[in-house]
């Protein structure tokens, strides 16, 4: 691969990056070619990684989302993929409208040219004079969600966010790898649909998909021509550890 000497453009977020790719490759925002978009998106992520560009966790989440849409569209019933693609297109259209509106508004900025003055310092009694029912206090207090404490707490660790996203992904992909292998140890083959049975959580579905990819890449499984069956290739004693460690270091 040739070395990249240009400096990568920095984007406001995954949607910003997608819009730029759509414009660059003249894709139709109302009917995106997911495969092409995914390819370009991953290329950018790779390049960003090579240039040690720090990307927020949302960029990886979007990559997983695109991969998931692409896979789901290969399934015999691609309705879910269609739905997700429409959602993504909707989000992109909404965001591009927002960018246009933001530009128009920014052009109207006159704030830097109008000056105001600070209030005149006059000695005055500012003591509060209104009277309220004491119950107002209890009501105001319970209006604050006590969950805020925990969520704020979590936000203190934003800097670890990317790491944690990646870590979570490795763990869950590995869990799914084990899960798939267990099913294959028993029968030697399994229906693709069965792997997704009862899995409604999006990240779990993505993990399952990535696990299948991972196993295929390392030649542990093969997939039938119509993408419905998975076959176990060669029974070995336990799982070969070499590629496992490689996967984690890649992530």
């Amino acid at each position: 691969m040739e070395t990249i000497s240009f400096k990568l453009e920095v984007f406001e977020g995954p949607l910003d990056l997608l819009l730029s790719l759509i414009a660059k490759h003249k894709l139709n925002i109302c009917d995106i070619e997911i495969s092409k978009l995914l390819e370009q998106y991953l290329l950018y992520i790779d390049q960003a990684h090579e240039q040690n560009l720090e990307l927020a966790g949302e960029f990886l989440e979007m990559a997983a989302r695109l991969i998931y849409i692409k896979t789901a569209s290969l399934l015999p019933q691609p309705e879910e993929a269609e739905q997700m693609k429409r959602e993504l297109e909707g989000a992109l259209i909404e965001y591009s409208l927002c960018k246009i509106a933001a530009k128009t508004l920014a052009d109207a900025f006159v704030g830097g040219n109008i000056f105001v003055r600070s209030p005149m310092k006059i000695k005055a009694d500012m003591t509060y004079t209104l009277v309220h029912e004491p119950e107002r206090l209890a009501i105001a207090y319970s209006a604050i969600s006590m969950k805020n404490i925990k969520s704020e707490h979590a936000k203190l660790h934003v800097e670890n966010k990317i790491n944690s996203v990646v870590k979570r992904r490795i763990v869950s992909v590995m869990t799914k790898v084990v899960h798939i292998l267990r099913q294959l140890y028993d029968s030697g083959e399994v229906y693709m649909d069965k792997l997704y049975e009862g899995v409604t959580d999006r990240s779990a579905r993505v993990a399952t998909f990535l696990a299948v990819l991972e196993l295929t890449r390392h030649g542990r499984i093969t997939i039938s021509d119509d993408n419905t069956m998975i076959f176990f290739k060669g029974r070995k004693n336990g799982v070969d550890r070499s590629w496992r460690s490689k996967t984690s270091s890649e992530q």
Binding site: P14, L15, A101, V110, V116, P119, S151
Partner: protein, 193 residues
């Protein structure tokens, strides 16, 4: 002279308060009927215009504020020794636009449109006085909602949010409302339970 005195009082109050002052407060303090105030302000603005004054009175929502005229910005900047204020970043403009057109909205709504965490961007807008808290949503988590301020209106030459430029292609592309967004979030939360 009756009117002359009233105009003087209005001027003095606006000058002293510095910040935007609500019509009802200005009316109470000056003794000028709230209904007559707008025409009095118009008289003052006409006078300023006629003599090429350096100041003017702006209407911002239901408040009035006295400020300098744009054309004297270079001289004022030189006197205050302030640099030209840096324009808002793209990220800040995006968040501000989303809040302005959909207010009051939660941080979650802004993040949903932008597709990325927007906490620091919104905190920055609050610090600059462009947006402010406007209560909490009565949904799980009780998120704080935000709205734009008088500073926002003044900074973008508006006298109310109704004056915002129309959204591009609004007729055929409708933004999700805060209500729809909350409904969807709740539905999703239920699903994952």
């Amino acid at each position: 002279m009756e009117i002359k005195d009233k105009l003087g009082a209005i001027e003095a109050i606006l000058f002293a308060s510095g910040e935007p002052i609500e019509i009802y407060r200005l009316s109470e303090a000056s003794g000028v009927d709230a209904g007559t105030l707008p025409s009095m302000i118009r008289l003052l603005n006409e006078r300023y215009e006629d003599c090429g004054s350096g100041i003017c009175i702006k209407k911002l929502d239901s408040s009035f504020q006295m400020c300098t005229r744009e054309e004297f910005a270079p001289q004022v900047r030189a006197a205050l020794e302030t640099k030209r204020t840096a324009p808002l970043s793209n990220a800040a403009m995006e968040a501000l636009t989303i809040i302005a057109y959909n207010q009051p909205v939660s941080k979650g709504f802004v993040e949903n449109v932008r597709g990325i965490d927007s906490s620091s961007v919104i905190n920055n807008l609050v610090e600059k006085g462009l947006v402010e808290e406007a209560g909490r949503l009565d949904v799980p988590g009780k998120p704080i909602v935000y709205r734009t301020t008088a500073v926002f209106l003044r900074s973008f030459g508006l006298s109310s949010v109704a004056d915002l430029p129309p959204l591009p292609g609004q007729s055929d592309l409708v933004l999700e409302t805060e209500e729809e967004f909350v409904d969807r979030e709740l539905a999703e939360a239920k699903q994952t339970e």
